[in-house]
Assembly symmetry: C2
Homo-oligomer: 241 residues x 2
Amino acid sequence: MVDKKSPLPMYYQIEEDIKQRIEKEEFRPSDMIPSERELSETFDVSRMTVRQALNNLVSEGILYREKGRGTFVAEKKIEQPLQGMTSFTEDMKARGMEASSKLLVFEKTTAPFDISRKLNVKEDADVYKIQRIRYADQKPMAIETNYLSVDMFPDLDEQTVLGSLYSYVEKKKKQQIAKASQMIEATTADENQAVLLDIPVDAAILYIERNSILSDGTPFEVVKSAYRADRYKFISDIYRT
Amino acid sequence: MVDKKSPLPMYYQIEEDIKQRIEKEEFRPSDMIPSERELSETFDVSRMTVRQALNNLVSEGILYREKGRGTFVAEKKIEQPLQGMTSFTEDMKARGMEASSKLLVFEKTTAPFDISRKLNVKEDADVYKIQRIRYADQKPMAIETNYLSVDMFPDLDEQTVLGSLYSYVEKKKKQQIAKASQMIEATTADENQAVLLDIPVDAAILYIERNSILSDGTPFEVVKSAYRADRYKFISDIYRT
DNA sequence: CAGTGGTCTAGACCACTAC
DNA sequence: TAGTGGTCTAGACCACTGT
């Protein structure tokens, strides 16, 4: 049941309970789960608390509601895509590979026009330019170039870049990283990319440009990545409105 | 203020009111908006109703909360990406281009293995295979191949395909289309694709495979699209958990 | 008709932040 | 300490679905 003295909120405990019952196949896909009033009695909580739990599960795509009918268990996800925004290291780990990298460039430089616009800084402002080769299982996977505002992170150094850049950012700005806007395109390798990625000139490249944003809406980073198309596919979920 | 007799829910009216006040710059980015208790007084509704409105705006990325401090206006989005899952026609319209298409193939056939798995049907089940060239402003943009289960849509015909496939699906299954799992890769054009898309052999192609899913979690469609990389970039937002 | 989810109220106590 | 958002209660009325 639920523990009213637990530090965990009751709606969270109810979420976990229902998820487990789906896992154990006590509730199966397209089954109706007990009504909100019934759940509020069995858990001995108010109906609003049950609704908060169910709303979260609906937004996770685990349940769905039908007006006047009930709340139902959604079909199992056939292939679990990489959910959410991840670092290269997390991404490779989820794909069962080991990530490593080699730093090519770490410098302060004047922001190129497109970068200054996307970082929301002045046109001649200084930015860090960080370029790395990213390896998966010791083989080249991508060339990644990051740009961050010097103004926003005055004390950023090479040591920090070798660790987790994202946890540094979240600690520094005392804010969560909320989301990123992405642009994905296909290109072919130029000579420089071909050498660095160990592929033929004109081989297919998956090119991703990402603009990362804090929870207050401030952009803090632009990342340009050129992935070997033979080794990397981008997987995501998109939602209809 | 809010109209208590309106058929629109009060939380929705409050959402719209706050969005307008941000639009009019009455509330500016990083401003604290009035507290929940204050808003509940001025709108003359309960605090829970205000919270429902604010929660929706937070999940849209328009506001953000800080525990013990208040609720704040997020920075303006610099570039508005195409939000959510769209049809080719909607996508082109948002990019300021006119969509058209030519039907190449409409047939019933036995499902290829990968398709049957993704549509969650038996291995030898019948599926529709629909292949079209998609044009933007009269120039070839993509080759799109759709697969749908014959069992799920027994009466699908060429006429329906020429209209809006998604509204047909939503009407037929009495359910909303909820989301899609996507895989994006880069390839180079083979001879057939080069001819159909009017590009050189080995030119870059952005290849997107999409598995579309109803709100009860049932997959109903697999789409494979080969886009001309010189004309098409894929834009999206991703969220950190 | 009885049952369901959708909306809403008028309170309450808590943990956290800032002064 | 005063104010904030986070959680929770015990009710209520509504529109909608299925029988």
